[in-house]
């Protein structure tokens, strides 16, 4: 469904894809079950993926710039129901409403199945609202998966323009201007709404959740959808719908060995320089 584009509108409708992940600061506590190849995440608290937080901040800033009252920011997550409080947290940060997709049929999804499921949910939200989101924002790469696929693949399912690795973003009159950082240069892009943008952590500094925000979140709607609520082919969701087969998983063995470089400060400095140069840093 594509409604005719509203030209010259001031306010914006933005959807943010928000991913709950195991706290990356506790990364060293995540173990690999070698037999099944699965990550053992039990006991590690969930947080909103850092880049998703940046995406939400970018959405809130764009909405504020274009008239916060008339603009709307919604968040969407596919996650087990226990992560529901992470969506409440997104509401407390300032999102107006939240959608959560939770179903056993979605479990074990790779990026292909995930993006398909998310895209179907985006379509359903847009159908219900009777408009197309001007922007869908997401993190470029999550701290636990890190494939950089989901934003791009979701855009492809939806048939929309997409730009990833965006470190600066502005929208004027339906034109999206995004700056992307590559290894050597900064690249500027222009595209038309509706678009899907993957942001990076340097795009902004996310605001804090405040006590007032938490109180406001009490009144903001959080909709829970299962597979039955979506127009979806469950052969294409979850583990069954995932063509990716991860290779062998293992925990890299980290070894550190001490080395003495030189007997005098001068010798040591020269030795350290040699090592740095050799590493190409």
């Amino acid at each position: 469904m594509h409604s005719p584009r509203r030209s010259h509108h001031l306010f914006m409708n933005i959807l943010v894809l928000v991913k709950p992940v195991p706290d990356p600061e506790r990364e060293k506590d995540i173990k690999v079950d070698v037999a099944s190849g699965r990550l053992i995440r039990e006991g590690i608290p969930m947080v909103i993926d850092p880049e998703s937080r940046n995406a939400l901040e970018a959405a809130l800033q764009l909405a504020e710039k274009s008239g916060r009252e008339q603009s709307a920011v919604a968040v969407l997550a596919m996650a087990p129901e226990q992560a529901r409080d992470k969506l409440t947290e997104a509401l407390a940060m300032g999102a107006d409403e939240a959608y959560m997709l939770s179903d056993r049929a979605f479990g074990g999804a790779d990026t292909f199945a995930t993006s398909y499921t998310l895209a179907q949910a985006v379509r359903k939200i847009e159908d219900e609202k009777g408009f197309v989101f001007d922007l869908v924002l997401a993190g470029t790469s999550s701290s636990d998966g890190g494939t950089s696929h989901v934003a791009v693949q979701t855009a492809e399912w939806l048939g929309r323009t997409h730009i990833s690795n965006v470190c600066s973003l502005d929208v004027n009159d339906g034109v999206v201007r995004a700056v992307k950082r590559s290894e050597e240069v900064m690249l500027s892009f222009e595209g038309e709404e509706p678009a899907v943008i993957g942001v990076t952590r340097d795009i902004n500094r996310p605001r804090f959740v405040t006590a007032m925000g938490i109180i406001k979140a009490r009144k903001r709607p959080l909709t829970l959808w299962s597979a039955d609520d979506l127009e979806i082919d469950t052969m294409r969701t979850g583990l069954v719908g995932s063509p990716t087969r991860p290779g062998r998983m293992f925990e890299p063995e980290q070894k550190r060995a001490g080395e003495t470089i030189g007997d005098t400060p001068e010798e040591a400095a020269a030795g350290i320089l040699r090592i740095i140069r050799k590493a190409g840093l």
């Binding site: 409080d85 409440t88 947290e89 407390a92 804090f208 959740v209 405040t210 006590a211 007032m212 925000g213 938490i214 109180i215 009490r218």
Partner: protein, 381 residues
């Protein structure tokens, strides 16, 4: 019955913890070293909802309770007990206005106190002895509808930064010759009212502690907080239910700092080719700190939940007494675990100990707490 925080309280704790990690943790050592009071952070504390967390929304607050207030103080004190002292005393003075003030006073002062543009204080202690509240000498005399106040307060937190200070004054005697007190709000800048000496403290830096001098200070009778003559009861209630709760929350923050730092150090430091945490003597020290932390946590939040439910007795005195002694013990244990590193100022262990010791007299010494607990116990059992 369960002792868990609600989902919303957990979220609040995480939000305050995140703020503290980013806005307080990186600077806490510097504030301590330079004896610096970071006034620039106060509006941010207002924005976070920490300054007015327990104030109803109609006055610009968040509308939560004392459990949430203690959560906020614990999180701030986790990284800077000194800064937490500023926040706690602000809550203490504010609570007197909220609980006993007129509608006009609340409308006038509370919004600014919630958004962080006005810090509040409560001044009771005098050079003649903090424990002897009935013996305080600051006098307020009423003529027409104006109070004239003369006297000197000491050890007052926020002495040099408060926009409004609630001052306990002697305003007469009852028929038996016992002193009658009144609590009167004085705004900064009022003629004759000025801060005196700023104390050079051994800990709890990051907040002002100093004298307040009242030399023929004239304030309208409309600044009286609560009924004239009831100041002793008002002061004791706020010290007892807001002050001691706050001190216990700050000490709990110090305890958690000791716990987290002890575990991190014991896991990282390698001795005899293995982490320190493998030594049973170290493990026992960590177990002691953990028990002290958990017991303190239960005592405090149980008392705070009782207060929110409308009924609390000597529980805050028990929590304050136990928690302040536990914080001193735990900081000492942390220093022992760390060996020489515990004694050098590159690590915060010494600061935790200095701060913990400073908490003991604040809002009533351990002896005073034990007297209150004993008094209630002898009646009750």
């Amino acid at each position: 019955m369960d002792f868990n925080f609600t989902e919303e309280q957990v979220m609040l704790r995480e939000a305050f913890a995140q703020f503290a990690k980013e806005e307080i943790a990186p600077y806490a050592a510097k504030w301590d070293e330079e004896d610096y009071v970071p006034m620039e952070i106060v509006p941010k504390l207002g924005e976070m909802g920490i300054m007015g967390v327990f104030v109803p929304e109609q006055y610009g607050g968040v509308g939560l309770g004392h459990v949430e207030r203690c959560i906020a103080l614990e999180e701030v004190a986790r990284y800077s007990a000194g800064l937490a002292m500023m926040v706690f005393t602000h809550h203490l003075g504010l609570a007197a206005i909220l609980d006993y003030g007129t509608e006009e006073q609340k409308q006038k002062w509370l919004p600014g106190m919630c958004d962080g543009s006005c810090v509040c204080g409560l001044a009771v202690t005098e050079p003649g002895g903090g424990s002897d509240v009935a013996g305080l000498k600051t006098v307020a005399e009423l003529e027409g509808d104006t109070w004239t106040i003369n006297g000197r307060k000491c050890f007052i937190t926020n002495s040099h930064c408060a926009g409004v200070t609630v001052v306990t004054c002697r305003t007469g005697e009852d028929e038996k010759g016992r002193p009658l007190m009144s609590t009167i709000a004085i705004e900064a800048g009022t003629e004759g009212f000025k801060p005196g000496r700023e104390e050079n403290k051994m800990g709890l830096k990051g907040s002002y502690t100093g004298e307040l001098i009242m030399d023929n200070v004239k304030v309208p009778v409309s600044n009286t907080v609560g009924e004239p003559g009831k100041g002793m009861a008002i002061t004791m209630k706020e010290l007892g239910e807001v002050g001691r709760a706050s001190m216990a929350a700050i000490e709990l923050g110090i305890l958690r700092a000791c716990l987290e730092d002890a575990v991190a150090f014991a896991k990282e430091r390698v001795l005899y080719g293995k982490p320190l945490s493998k030594l049973q003597a170290i493990q026992f020290n960590i177990a002691e700190i953990r028990c002290d932390y958990e017991a303190s946590r239960l005592m405090l939040y149980n008392a705070a939940a009782m207060k929110d439910a409308g009924k609390v007795g000597a529980e805050f005195s028990m929590a304050k007494y136990f928690t302040s002694e536990a914080a001193v013990r735990s900081a000492r244990r942390l220093i022992e675990i760390m060996g020489g590193y515990g004694f050098v100022n590159e690590y915060p262990a010494g600061r935790y100990l200095r701060d913990a010791i400073g908490c003991v007299p604040s809002c009533g010494t351990s002896e005073i707490q034990k007297m209150i607990v004993a008094g209630e116990t002898l009646k009750k059992f």
